[in-house]
């Protein structure tokens, strides 16, 4: 089976006024596996949206190639199995939400009955049923964002390309979108989404790619990053003699409890010493670099 997204040596150079050259994307190679949720992380202006616009055929690459399910991105057929949410979507505001979904459904050659049933479903999912028959021009920014996601979900595609899907949403809306992405993963769909918010990636992604100034600087699984980011442990101990903490700083807790910070490499030795002194380990908490620190290290 062809991969949902296959990008090879993609570059994009813009020529601004006075001939100024901007390398928005430099030699990007990336492939996304079926059923994967991939977070495309980068600061503003890093090249995330440029990559997505190239994938959706809105702009052309200066060099390199890309395919969606093995089909060249320059063809309209390549987009048949894709649900795309643009960044800050602009949808024809003279239509109602339901009419817009009807238009999108027809463009994907869905049957009228399917369009109606799926429209009801996605409008309900995105909590837009009450506003469905109102013109889009009367929607708030968050509602437009949710309708944008609804139209991407409508034809239940195999691949979702979401450009900043949480942008403009309140915390409830953000949680809703995360739930939707998780449920897409459970149903085996592939999700490629861009964001500059690390917590979003941590919450839902299998893999993350970090792009900075048009170059892919890191590519790894979120799980591996989380594990490799472990710096040490916070250990709460009761009983035993405090001096048997073998030189580790501690903070006294209520009663005879103490809380130690133990570096990752000394953990086993520390446990042995505490046990030998008759101390009892009450709680161990991992202290790790979060994705944000990892991201900031790369960006800097």
């Amino acid at each position: 089976m062809a991969k949902p997204i296959e990008i090879s040596n993609l570059s994009k150079t813009f020529r601004g006024k006075k001939g100024i050259r901007v390398d928005a994307l430099r030699d990007l190679s990336l492939s996304i596996e079926p059923g994967e949720v991939f977070g495309f992380l980068g600061p503003n202006g890093a090249g995330k949206s440029t990559t997505i616009k190239i994938l959706m055929g809105l702009i052309t690459a200066t060099a390199g190639s890309a395919c969606l399910f093995g089909k060249e991105i320059s063809t309209a057929q390549a987009r048949l199995s894709v649900g795309y949410l643009p960044e800050n979507p602009a949808l024809y505001d003279f239509l109602t939400g339901r009419e817009y979904l009807g238009f999108v459904g027809k463009s994907f050659l869905m049957a009228a009955a399917d369009i109606e049933a799926r429209s009801d479903e996605v409008l309900g999912l995105l909590e837009l049923r009450d506003a469905a028959n109102r013109p889009i021009r009367s929607y708030s920014k968050g509602m437009v964002q949710r309708l944008g996601l609804a139209q991407a979900l409508l034809h239940d595609p195999d691949l979702y390309v979401l450009d900043e899907p949480m942008s403009g949403l309140d915390p409830i809306g953000r949680a809703l979108v995360k739930d939707i992405i998780r449920s897409l993963k459970q149903r085996g769909r592939t999700v490629f989404f861009s964001t500059h918010i690390t917590a979003d990636v941590e919450a839902v992604c299998d893999r993350v790619g970090v792009i900075v100034r048009g170059k892919l600087e890191a590519l790894d699984s979120v799980e591996h990053l989380m594990r490799s980011g472990i710096e040490g442990y916070t250990v709460q101990v009761s009983g035993g003699a405090p001096e048997e903490g073998c030189g580790y700083d501690f903070r006294p807790l209520k009663g005879d409890g103490r809380e130690y910070y133990v570096p990752k490499d000394s953990f086993n030795r520390f446990i042995e010493l505490i046990s030998a002194a008759g101390g009892k380990v009450e709680l161990i908490e991992t202290r790790r670099k979060d994705l944000e620190e990892f991201f900031l290290e790369i960006v800097k």
Partner: protein, 264 residues
């Protein structure tokens, strides 16, 4: 194609500016019997002349508003991101826009034409003329005018495909309309004995403009509609063929340009 066509048509029909224009055009047409009564002997002829001129003017405004702004509005408001990321190719997108504008021009011409027929009939009954009313020729004249404006709309869309501002397609369409309306007369003048007195550069420039801009004179059948001048079927066939060839060329070029446009 039909999905995009009906979407664009819906947009046009719901546009409040166009609704206001349509209402204003009906008011203008209703004024025809009043204005034509100022002519003592040729009330009917004046009614036909005024009706055809009003229709032509209203269609021109529709064409300028739609032909030169529809694509620009899509790009300016970033609707293109949502629409062109759906499985449509850009050629279909441009053709659907043109067809919706052309359909509206023809439908508008039919609607205002029917109202004009009523106004002409009122004038003709009130002040009968010695000349018979030529309804068929009036219909041909309105149809040819619609073809002219559909061609102008295609040229407006062509300019929009490479322009980044509203002004360029709008004023280009105005310029094309003015030069295209005058090109036949100017060409005939520069090729006449009087025109030979002009310097060579001016004559060459006039010829170049004549061959580049469309000859809107080919669509003018007003005289045949007003006075008893017989219609030349060959002239009609020539005008229709001219419309098809010129519009096809303009739209092909528009698709070629828009397919290469970066929607950043």
């Amino acid at each position: 194609m039909y999905t995009l066509f009906s979407l664009n048509l819906k947009w046009i029909v719901r546009d409040r500016i166009l609704q206001a224009l349509l209402t204003a055009s009906l008011v203008l047409i209703m004024l025809v019997p009043v204005l034509s009564s100022f002519s003592m002997r040729q009330s009917q002829e004046l009614a036909v002349t005024l009706s055809l001129s009003f229709i032509s003017f209203v269609l021109l405004v529709f064409t300028l508003v739609l032909g030169s702004t529809m694509l620009w509005r899509d790009i300016e408001r970033r609707y293109t991101y949502s629409v062109l990321s759906l499985p449509f190719d850009r050629g279909t997108y441009i053709l659907a826009k043109f067809l919706a504008v052309a359909f509206f021009i023809f439908a508008g011409a039919l609607f205002i034409g029917l109202c004009a027929a009523l106004a002409i009939k009122v004038s003709a009954v009130r002040d009968p003329s010695t000349l018979p009313l030529q309804w068929g020729r009036i219909a041909v004249s309105i149809f040819m005018d619609s073809l002219k404006y559909a061609l102008l709309a295609a040229l407006g869309i062509l300019v929009s495909t490479f322009s980044t501002s509203f002004f360029m397609p709008f004023f280009s369409a105005v310029f094309i309309f003015l030069s295209g309306s005058a090109s036949q007369d100017v060409y005939e003048f520069v090729t006449s004995s009087s025109g030979m007195k002009l310097n060579t550069a001016a004559r060459v420039a006039a010829r170049v403009v004549y061959y580049i801009v469309p000859n809107f004179g080919a669509f003018n059948f007003k005289l045949q509609a007003i006075y008893p001048i017989p219609l030349d079927p060959l002239q009609i066939v020539y005008a229709i063929a001219y419309f098809i060839i010129y519009t096809t060329m303009a739209l092909s070029l528009a698709i070629w340009c828009f397919s290469r446009r970066e929607l950043t």
